[in-house]
Amino acid sequence: MSKDYIRPMSKTWYMERSYWRRFMVRELTSAFVAIYCVFLLYAAYQAKSADSFSVFFEYLKKPASLIWHFVVFLMVTWHTITWFAAAPKALRVYKGEDRVPEPIVAGAHFAAWLVVSLVVAWLVMG
């Protein structure tokens, strides 16, 4: 028993297999989701008066802010795509005896995402 050989995982284990690397990228994107939630709370706080919001709004137009938003956009988009792609694992839908295929369940999520995005875009820009 005691002679069993134990192979410990390396410190950089997540680099060793493609699906582990993809997992780590996804975990990284969730940090951006969290940080941006805090940022949104801060924005809501700045909206307490018209004055403070207009100051804040000027900051939003600066290049650094635009770059930050672009990066967050990419990260959150990737997070959402991988989240919806994984959704059928948690949501097993049956139609009688047959399981509704995973791509259909995932597709429904993506369709809902598209509709909600279009509605929001229409509200904001229209």
Binding site: M1, K3, D4, Y5, I6, R7, M9, W13, Y14, E16, R17, Y19, W20, F23, E27, A86, P88, K89, A90, R92, Y94, G96, E97, D98, R99
Partner: protein, 259 residues
């Protein structure tokens, strides 16, 4: 690509492929080593055929597990070029002409050469109680249990598990902390929880809903990718999380409890 005909014929030189095999002899070695073998390359050969060829022709002491040769018994799982695979269904042609490195399933202690110690997995199945525990005792006169095709469909996927442990080798959470109950044991727990004849979900929850159970899972999803039987342990575990959460909410919100 060549047809099914053998790649050797009397006149031509025999094609070979290189296997690099993990060797460890507990009584002699303190560290493992890799032995290299030139094995005949055949279009229809799997890695297990190559290992058998080595054992028959080069080194009879090479130790590994196998039985059915048809992806049913679940005993021949090994790392093939770093990926957990059933060696009886992992073809040499998918790697040829590159060499193939064969190692014991990762994340498990190695007993000898390619044989891992599976005690931990066996204990986990016992902990989860991966067998049918009927709701109430039933007499023979009461006849058989009836189950509709729809009831069967609910757990059938999860019942296809052949206990090959590839999913444990794919799971970094288990690799980093082997107290995690792990994919197959949790999927099998779900298999019995979902069975209309079973009544032991609460008993299993002590393990399944513990910190070492479904809540230890970070949803890497690799278990479901490598599973040769499409069991989808990741799905079973996420279902377990959803069930645990709804049960908890019900027990908090409904004064009469969820049971």
């Amino acid at each position: 690509m060549a047809s099914n005909a053998a790649t050797t014929n009397g006149s031509g030189a025999e094609k070979t492929i290189t296997l690099e095999v993990f060797r460890y002899l507990p009584d002699e070695d303190s560290e493992p080593r890799y032995d290299t073998y030139e094995v005949p390359y055949k279009q229809e050969w799997v890695v297990l055929d190559a290992l058998n060829w080595i054992k028959d022709n080069v080194d009879g002491s090479l130790t590994y597990r196998w039985s059915c040769r048809m992806a049913v018994c679940g005993s021949c799982g090994m790392m093939v070029n770093g990926e957990p695979e059933l060696t009886c269904s992992s073809f040499l042609r998918d790697h040829y002409p590159n060499k193939i490195r064969v190692e014991p399933l990762s994340h498990f202690p190695v007993m000898r050469d390619l044989v891992i110690n599976m005690d931990d997995f066996m204990h986990k199945m016992e902990d989860v109680k991966t067998w049918l525990i009927p709701k109430e005792p039933r007499n023979l006169e009461d006849g058989e249990y009836r189950q509709s095709p729809a009831e069967l469909a609910e757990y059938k996927d999860f019942s296809m598990c052949i206990n090959c442990m590839l999913c444990y080798s794919a799971c970094p959470v288990y690799g980093l902390d082997s107290t995690f109950v792990g994919p197959a044991a949790l999927a099998l727990g779900q298999r019995y929880n979902l069975d209309s004849r079973d009544g032991a979900e609460d008993e299993r929850a002590d393990v399944i809903q513990s910190d070492h159970g479904v809540w230890h899972c970070t949803f890497v999803g690799a278990c479901s990718k490598v599973c040769p039987k499409s069991v989808d342990p990741a799905g079973a575990i996420q279902m377990g999380k959803v069930k645990g959460t709804t049960d908890w909410i019900k027990s908090k919100l409904l004064p009469w409890g969820s049971k």
